[in-house]
């Protein structure tokens, strides 16, 4: 339940100036998406979907983002737990490292990946001797997606784990669970809304990945051309195809956003006031 807004907050001067200053921002956020939605006729959209680059790009995007999501969740969950419960002097460096891809321009990430897995890169000679090529393959697409999307999941998961009451874990241990059992039976279920939210954000970020993929994986139809890259290519030949592709991606993103907004509420209905007791507010310190 939302408490009523106090007079102190609500009554600071008139609210009109806020709205006037904020309105251009709201318009800038809303108008382009409306324009995208209304710019093409159903015939244009079906023509775009029928285009030969549409199918392979959609299929590749679905495959690669699902693989990268599995990797991010499997590797990111233990890492997030370690960040949440570890000694701050040890976790701090890793925490900064995990944040790095969020501030790093995707093009830089792409070059960095080339310098690592490319022919002249750190692992280049090793990979070449094994006969493995990473750049310009679907593997490169997945690697780029993992690097740019992992921080979103790891940060959200670590924040969710930090809110789990440590006493609950101690109780779980005294009731006979190993540290792994307490993690799986107590920490994970209590942090689940945060984990799901983080996974959805990471998936959205991977789905939209463009810059790092273009530089590290290239733009080869059927192999490395994901949806965003297909939009880029379609724009050069047929705008209608680009718009149709964009509409599909936008629809998926809106669905994700709605799910993200609705999930905690649905969760709350399922578990009533649950998490209020097992989970601490974010500001509280760990003893």
């Amino acid at each position: 339940m939302t408490p009523p807004t106090s007079r102190i907050v609500a009554g600071v001067g008139s609210r009109w100036p806020l709205l006037i200053l904020g309105a251009p921002m709201v318009l800038l956020l809303a108008v382009p998406f409306l324009a995208l939605g209304f710019s093409s006729s159903p015939a244009d959209v079906s023509a775009g979907i029928a285009d030969p680059i549409f199918g392979p790009a959609l299929w590749l995007s679905v495959r690669t983002t699902l693989v990268s999501l599995v990797i991010v969740v499997l590797a990111g969950t233990p890492l997030a737990w370690w960040l949440a419960v570890g000694v701050p002097s040890r976790t701090r460096v890793v925490e900064v490292l995990v944040d790095l891809p969020i501030v790093m321009p995707p093009a830089v990430v792409g070059i960095a990946l080339l310098q690592t897995f490319g022919r002249g890169g750190v692992f280049g000679p090793l990979l070449e001797s094994m006969g493995v090529q990473v750049p310009f393959t679907a593997t490169a697409v997945v690697l780029a997606q993992v690097v740019v999307s992992a921080p979103f999941y790891v940060q959200a998961a670590a924040a969710a784990f930090r809110r789990v009451e440590p006493d609950l874990l101690i109780v779980g241990r005294t009731l006979g669970q190993s540290s792994r059992g307490a993690f799986l039976r107590i920490a994970v279920p209590l942090a689940l809304p945060g984990l799901v939210g983080g996974a959805a954000l990471a998936w959205a970020r991977a789905l939209g990945e463009f810059g790092a993929t273009l530089l590290f994986a290239g733009n080869l139809t059927g192999t490395t051309q994901t949806m965003p890259l297909a939009i880029y290519q379609a724009l050069e030949s047929d705008v209608r195809v680009a718009v149709a592709l964009s509409l599909v991606l936008a629809a998926v993103s809106v669905l994700l956003l709605v799910a993200l907004r609705a999930a905690p509420r649905a969760w709350g209905l399922l578990h009533s006031s649950t998490l209020a007791r097992g989970v601490r507010s974010a500001g509280e310190a760990r003893p």
């Binding site: 009451e165 006493d167 101690i170 005294t174 009731l175 006979g176 578990h271 007791r277 097992g278």
Partner: protein, 240 residues
């Protein structure tokens, strides 16, 4: 003596140096905020590793720095009820109690048997009718009883209760205080009960020990401590 604790450790600003022992009766632990009461309970439960010392319950050593022994919390068979009771909000009341039977359900290997045993334990504390409820929908007094039933499910060698009555309003507190005191006395098992309230301490009927700044400063019956308080805190605590 049924149990004996001798621990020395540094944890943040706290310098814990405690030698304590007790018999079959509940021992009340009092002390100012930040004196180390909760830390001591958690250390006995195995959540913190002391720098040095020995913890022994019913002849079994759980921790011994000299022997390099440090039994994992899940092997200690210590019943810990934290402040606020620590019920798992994502599990029903019955599942909270069966949680401890997953490992310590000797003679109750099947799911149905565990459930039946959990219901018996809940009946014992007068909460059988709450089995399918969510812990968050219970009153403070009910949560307290469920937490007690859950802690007892593993047949613990010792009970550690951290402020079992603090979260209750005045009326519930009176009822639960009487109930808890009778229950612990009847059970005849060692228990260490942190308290902030003189009436709770008196209701327990056993001895009291006082911890200040990580050290035990006094121990005895409530009347003895009242007659000759060792510190200002003890004097203030027993003031009427």
């Amino acid at each position: 003596m049924t149990w004996r604790v001798d621990v020395r450790m540094r944890l943040g600003d706290l310098d814990l140096d405690v030698q304590l022992e007790g018999g079959e009766e509940p021992l009340a632990l009092i002390g100012p905020n930040g004196s180390g009461k909760t830390t001591l309970l958690r250390t006995i439960a195995g959540a913190y590793r002391p720098d040095a010392g020995r913890i022994e319950i019913r002849g079994a050593a759980l921790f011994d720095s000299a022997a390099g022994l440090d039994t994992a919390p899940e092997e200690r068979r210590v019943g810990y009820v934290p402040q606020g009771y620590g019920l798992f909000p994502h599990l029903s009341v019955a599942d909270n109690v069966t949680f401890g039977l997953l490992r310590y359900g000797e003679g109750a290997p099947s799911r149905a048997e565990r459930r039946a045993r959990a219901e018996r334990l809940l009946d014992e504390v007068g909460c059988g009718h709450l089995a399918s409820r969510s812990p968050t929908s219970l009153s403070g007094g009910e949560q307290q009883r469920v937490a007690l039933a859950r802690a007892l499910a593993t047949r613990p060698a010792m009970l550690l209760l951290d402020e079992p009555l603090a979260a209750l309003d005045a009326r519930a507190r009176r009822n639960v205080r009487t109930y808890l005191a009778e229950y612990l006395t009847e059970r005849k098992g060692p228990a260490l009960v942190v308290s902030h309230d003189l009436r709770d301490v008196r209701a327990l009927g056993g001895p009291v020990c006082v911890i200040e700044d990580g050290k035990i400063v006094q121990r005895g019956t409530p009347d003895a401590l009242r007659a000759a308080p060792a510190t200002e805190f003890v004097e203030a605590f027993f003031e009427d």
